[in-house]
Symmetry: C2
Subunit: 364 residues, 2 copies
């Protein structure tokens, strides 16, 4: 399994300036221009937005959560409904995560063994088993264009180097198993038919482990490098320190995906340190709470009383549907105050577009 | 005030067959082809839909609730934000109701006098006073294109003829006051600038009172006739009985608006008995609970287990966005099950479109 890179190059990039690069990622569902922000369609849909509204913001890839879709309605149901794209009515590329992050952050875990993780379904108490092979099988049934290998994210809730070391080591043994299963399931697919697989770099805040983890991932045939275990509670300085440290070591021939990061300053820092892809629930979750990003990476809390009769758009310089149609801050504040879901939809459109514009700014 | 009809005709219609007619209503915000269904944008927006999504269903008029907007954010705030159209980002005609129905159905009423109604704001306990003049003033501040005169809807919660009689009589004295206030506030407007005013026919299930009420309304200079006090708890047979009874007596030169009716069978019955306009929250409220109308006026409860892997659109014969894009019943069921608001939006689009197509069917 230790071929250095896949035989068909799926990614090409050129350096722009100061660590920033613009790239093109080929997926079976279409080309993706990087850097790019990918909103989270957790349960098959970006919350409160139609697929058309999502596409109109300039989104190129939509992420869906393996964990949530496995629980409900199940990958077999989605397969019967024609796969994730038909299910979610999404024409372009879709990425699924491995489920690892949710298993470790949302579930009551019963047992972690070398084989995999047994945990409780929080909604009905059922025992569920997830392993590297199982995660790949689920993502394959879902029909993702980009998959992520199942990782041991135990580093989430541990400070000690020993536990981080164990999670790191297991993540790499699991990556080999993920690759084997992926290879088995894609054996009869052509280069144009097969999905892509990304491996995950762990290692917590330990630079030595991070470097080693990156090297190990890059020694495998994965199509892309995902940076996991950041933006999970550490300080911004700590995250930036790791991102700065890793920047020189990335394989330039493959895309670099920073998991779970979605504020404008973090995107800028990531892009300036070799990151090509980002995903996060924040732009839409914040939007539903009346929080918008505006030019200069400033924050606007639209529920504030001072906006009650403000006729301005959220951001007069923005080209999103919400701002271009002239929905006023006063109208949005009112809709939030009376609990109308339209407000969250309209600000979600704005916040996603804000991040897409940010990425476009670096690409062009 | 007792001119029989307004000087400029705002409505023209031709009979099609069996009591059905097709009409054109001129409003200052554009022409409305009747019969037509008008969804309720209770608090300034049709729940969970963008104005664009509403327009795309073929909706010509959006209704907004005077009562709700008076409470929050207040008509003065909306006026500062440019009026209802700018506020709600609505290009076409908007109708406001009088607030009467909500005062009598939602509020704790402290006092009904000849002058008006004093009631408690349910959200903060404030005393609020609403009268015919006040209702017209609010609707004028909101900037509605079509207004409705404030009526005494006490008939809602009374069975006795005496109370019905009192409400009926007061409704007509109040209509005169509404007309005076309307005339005062529109004095300097040209025919193209002024909004329209509809008067409300009451009389409960008493045919004698209904006929008298209709005659009294039609003796005034109102631009349209609204039928109130139906679809408020009586049986469908009772409502149909009143609608059949009233049909021969309507002034054919003015539009007839049946308040609060929104199921396909009721729309058909109304249209076949001279009704031109309908409004209701049902199509969108039902949609948010997973209930859809499909061809043949059949009902589909999308949360039903049997739809879990159903790949069909809600209604393969429907031309709405949701059905045309191929969102499957299985996907919608899943979205309802996991509580995603997108499901309610997508089915709202379908249900509104269903009623608009029904109306188009009679018009063409």
């Amino acid at each position: 399994m230790n071929q250095p890179t896949p035989s068909t190059p799926v990614f090409a990039s050129k350096n722009i300036t100061n660590g920033v690069r613009a790239g093109i990622l080929q997926t079976r569902a279409g080309i993706v221009h990087t850097p790019t922000f990918m909103p989270d369609g957790t349960r098959g849909a970006v919350k409160s937005l139609s697929p058309q509204q999502v596409t109109d913001t300039g989104v190129q890839v939509v992420l869906a959560n393996t964990y949530h879709l496995h629980m409900q309605p199940g990958e077999k149901a989605i397969k019967k409904l024609g796969g994730l794209h038909a299910f979610a009515n999404r024409k372009g590329p879709m990425l699924t995560d491995s489920g690892g992050f949710q298993v470790f952050s949302l579930s009551h875990i019963n047992k972690i063994t070398e084989e995999g993780v047994t945990f409780k379904n929080p909604s009905n108490g059922d025992q569920i088993f997830l392993s590297p092979e199982k995660s790949i099988q689920i993502q394959m049934d879902l029909g993702a264009d980009i998959m992520v290998a199942f990782d041991d994210v135990t580093a989430l809730d541990t400070k000690g180097r020993n536990r981080t070391l164990e999670a790191f080591q297991r993540t790499h043994r699991w990556l080999e198993r993920s690759l084997s299963e992926f290879k088995r399931l894609t054996k009869y697919m052509t280069a144009n038919e097969r999905p892509l697989l990304f491996g995950v770099v762990q290692g917590g805040l330990d630079k030595g482990l991070r470097k080693k983890s990156l090297e190990l991932v890059q020694q495998t045939a994965v199509d892309g490098i995902a940076i996991g275990g950041l933006s999970v509670g550490e300080s911004r300085e700590e995250m930036y320190d790791i991102l700065s440290f890793l920047a020189p070591y990335y394989d330039p021939e493959r895309p670099h995906f920073l998991l779970g990061v979605g504020t404008p300053p973090d995107l800028r820092f990531g892009i300036q340190h070799g990151i090509d892809m980002f995903d996060c629930v924040l732009p839409t979750r914040n939007a539903r709470h009346g929080f918008a990003w505006i030019t200069g990476d400033k924050k606007l809390q639209l529920t504030n009383t001072k906006f009650a009769t403000d006729t301005k758009a959220i951001d007069p310089d923005c080209d999103c549907y919400t701002c271009q149609q002239g929905f006023s801050r006063g109208f949005l504040r009112h809709q939030f105050k009376v609990g109308e879901p339209l407000a969250g939809s309209l600000v979600s459109i704005h916040n996603i577009r804000y991040l897409e514009r940010l990425c476009e700014g670096y690409r062009n």
